[in-house]
Amino acid sequence: MARYGMALDYKKCINCKACETACKEENGILLGADKHRIWVGVKEVEGEFPLLSIASQTFYPSQCQHCDAAPCQEVCPTNATYYDENGVVQVDPDKCILCSYCINACPYDARYVDDRTMTVDKCTFCSDTRLSRGEVTTACQNTCPTKVRIFGDLDDPNSEISQVLREREYFTLKSHLGTQPKLFYLI
């Protein structure tokens, strides 16, 4: 029993996409640019050459926010989307009927369709791959060159993520929607 979350020291991100490939390889995700559980959001730089705004060019690693109040879970008519014992938002492919309500309900665009099962797929924090064999890091975290990601149990006050969230400022995405996301962007 845990409540898993992830902190992102996003200013260290160089948009190398190691995380995206590691996720695909670990979790057996389909190839294809539109098939992905995680991604790096890039905002094109503002200004005219040579007067460009360095600060405007940002790289935000993103994925399912594993919200504590997840809209995707609320709208699912078959209870295919559920919280597992570690607070991770999961999809049961046997129950999913691909009604796509969850895809539309997710404010973070974190879900896509797996063409093999014709069900919805998304980030699982590597629950059924790495965590299930006792590893304590996710694939995206483990491979990251600049060590952007800190994954762990938010309920454990001694976990690295709990400590860093006590020590550093952070923001969450679209928190005004009341989703209570568990991805934290460190400032």
């Binding site: 160089i14 390889e25 294809g32 640019a33 790289f59 690295e160």
Partner: protein
Amino acid sequence: MHIEISRRRFLQGSVALTVLGTTATTALFSKDKTGEIKITTKTTNKADKLVPTMCEMCVNKCAAIARVEDGVVTKLDPNPYFPKSRSMLCARGNAGIQALYDPDRLKYPLIRVGKKGEGKFKRVTWDEAFEYIKEKTVQILDEEEDNRSSFLFCAGEGMAEHTFKTFYQVFGSSNWLNHSSICLQTVAAGYGLTLGSYPQSDFENATYVILAGANRAEAIVTPDTMDLFKNVKSKKNAAKLVCIDPRFTNTAAKSDLWLPITPGTDLAFVLALTYVVLDEELYNKEYVEANFNDFDEYKEHILSNNYTPKWASKITGIEENTIYSIAREFMEHAPKAIYYPGRRSTFAKNDFQLRRAMAIFQALGGGVDCEGGLVFGKTLKIKGHDVSSPMYDNAKSRAVIKRLQAKSGQAGYEDCAIVGDGGSWISWRNSFLEDKQPYKVRGMFCYKHNPMQNMPNSKKTAQMLEKMEFLVCIDTMPSDTVMYADVVLPECTYLERTDPIKTFGGTEPSIAVRHKVIDPMFESKPVMEILQGLSQKLSKPLFEITKKYDEDVQEMLETDDESEVYAEFDLSVPFMHSQEELNKDAVRDYPEALAMLEKHGVYYPDMDKYFKQISANEYEYYPKSKRYYSVNEGRPITSSNKVECKIDSLARNGIDPMPLWKDEYIPKSTTGKFKLTTGRHAQYTQSGSTNNSMLNDLMPENYLWLNKRVAKEKNIKFGDMLEVSSNVGAIRIKAYPTEKIAQDQVFLIHGFGQESSSLTWAYKNGGNDNAIIEDIMEPVYGAAAMHETEVEIKRV
């Protein structure tokens, strides 16, 4: 704060998603429920084995752990024990699985049946391939009267390059070409002659960094990329990063200051920084007094030439005041300030002098062989694989064109002043094509090297390969160069072979090994085994040729037994032992090394004591007090232990003994034309990785960057097909209008637009930069100057 983070929305208008949903269906193994073959494999709880190995998706050699389930490599993870790669694998490193299971791989030995370049081959057995090579080699060497240099040997960089080079040495040719003249030749030599070595940078402890023409966020170098970007922007007391690049790169996005310099003018910028430091006497006087040769002369040279920031601002486009403030800030932070040496090919003709000027500027602050500065580090010695090469009386010296009647103070060769070990590729190719070489070179052995893509003016390379009578290629992929081969010998990929053990010098030195993860697939073999078979086939027949023409050998045979004489000419001797045996021998001085290398893939003395996990995802390799920041008491490691400001031996070869600016260095700027620059990308290495199906998802083709306002004037929109032409060729490539580049420049990423139709993903995927880059050489080593070309563009 408005934050746009949806990748899908972003992609709609961007470079990365022009090919949507190209689901690859060509994997060799894993099948999903519907029976459709997919290329990624989900990991499970059962692993047959975890094998420590080393990546070869680029030149960095990061340590990996391969997960093998039911004989299939299902995942490559970073190996935490290796100091150099800091427990990471980049996108390419992760995608190594797709290189292993690439359906386009060379699977069997092949002999050409079609025209050169056409790509028509027949499958043969290894013995048939070797037999054919033997016949052709014997014929050529007989006709050329045992001139072993009538064969050219060339190789790309890699852990097994040395194995192939050994074959070249025992074969007895003098014609060796490797990547250096299209790679690090000028930077390595510039720093080598000035400071004694091409140094590393201690980015962990530097507080001020200038990155000029070095895009470390996209052209990943380990550990530089990780150390640098952990040390800027996101933490308290972050280092200040000044990024100098004509383009706004991902590195620029992480910098504190981005200065878009006019391409090819970095030398003027460095000379002006030096001017400020000397004029205002900001340099470390104690350090300079103790550790410089010819400082006074250099000072006088810089000041009397008036290399002022005002002068430089006109040439570089960087404001005068900015140059002053950078020079002052750098020296305030010195010795913990780094002017990064860079790790790239030659861009402009003045590159050698630029590197000398950079090295001297760095040393003026004392930031040499010290924490936070440039470091030489320590290298753990391993035993080499010593091979004695036979002496062939008729082997002619390297086919280079000497300048007749060269006097002292003039370059001794037609194309350059100095010929390095790796030679000048362009010079060699062009003189071969122009029939200028002193004797006929008729055969070529090419290992893991793709001259069709890697060197400017690919039209000439095609002509060279057509003209070469006999070409043998050893490779893993059907590259553009392989299309011209007479015989193709399939090497297995890096995950299927054990390679020579390697020592990695630095502040945290270690020894690491690439272990074989799975057995070679199809009929592919490690280059060691290929050369074992080939040398056994060639050795005796070639000795017969030597006996026929070599008077020294004939003389020896008068007194000695033939088997004794032959023993010296037995080409197969270096390849007698397995790589595993040789590796054991290489570390025989370290009693614990073998066991550690077997278990962890990495070894260094006291590793069991020093190696520490400091968080779930970070590790310490050496305690700080044990790192080799300083190995020569802060001095350069030149033979004089001084910084060499003035090198008289250069002057004797017609090279300026001190860095200086010449008007001819002012870049050409023709109205209506654009300066062409090229570069690297974090998801691709070079042409070797563009056929990777996983990486192809991230960027299916390259684009031509051009300024948005220029594009608008020309009515060019994102994705429009353009023809880009120079004096040597034309390519077709799609447009990417952006404000990240100046109005008079265009840019494209290297390694795309291959012509080999055997490459499912890379075939004609964008434009090949080397089809339009002119074959211009810098004058010192004849290295290819990649950014001296102007192009025209039109919509087609």
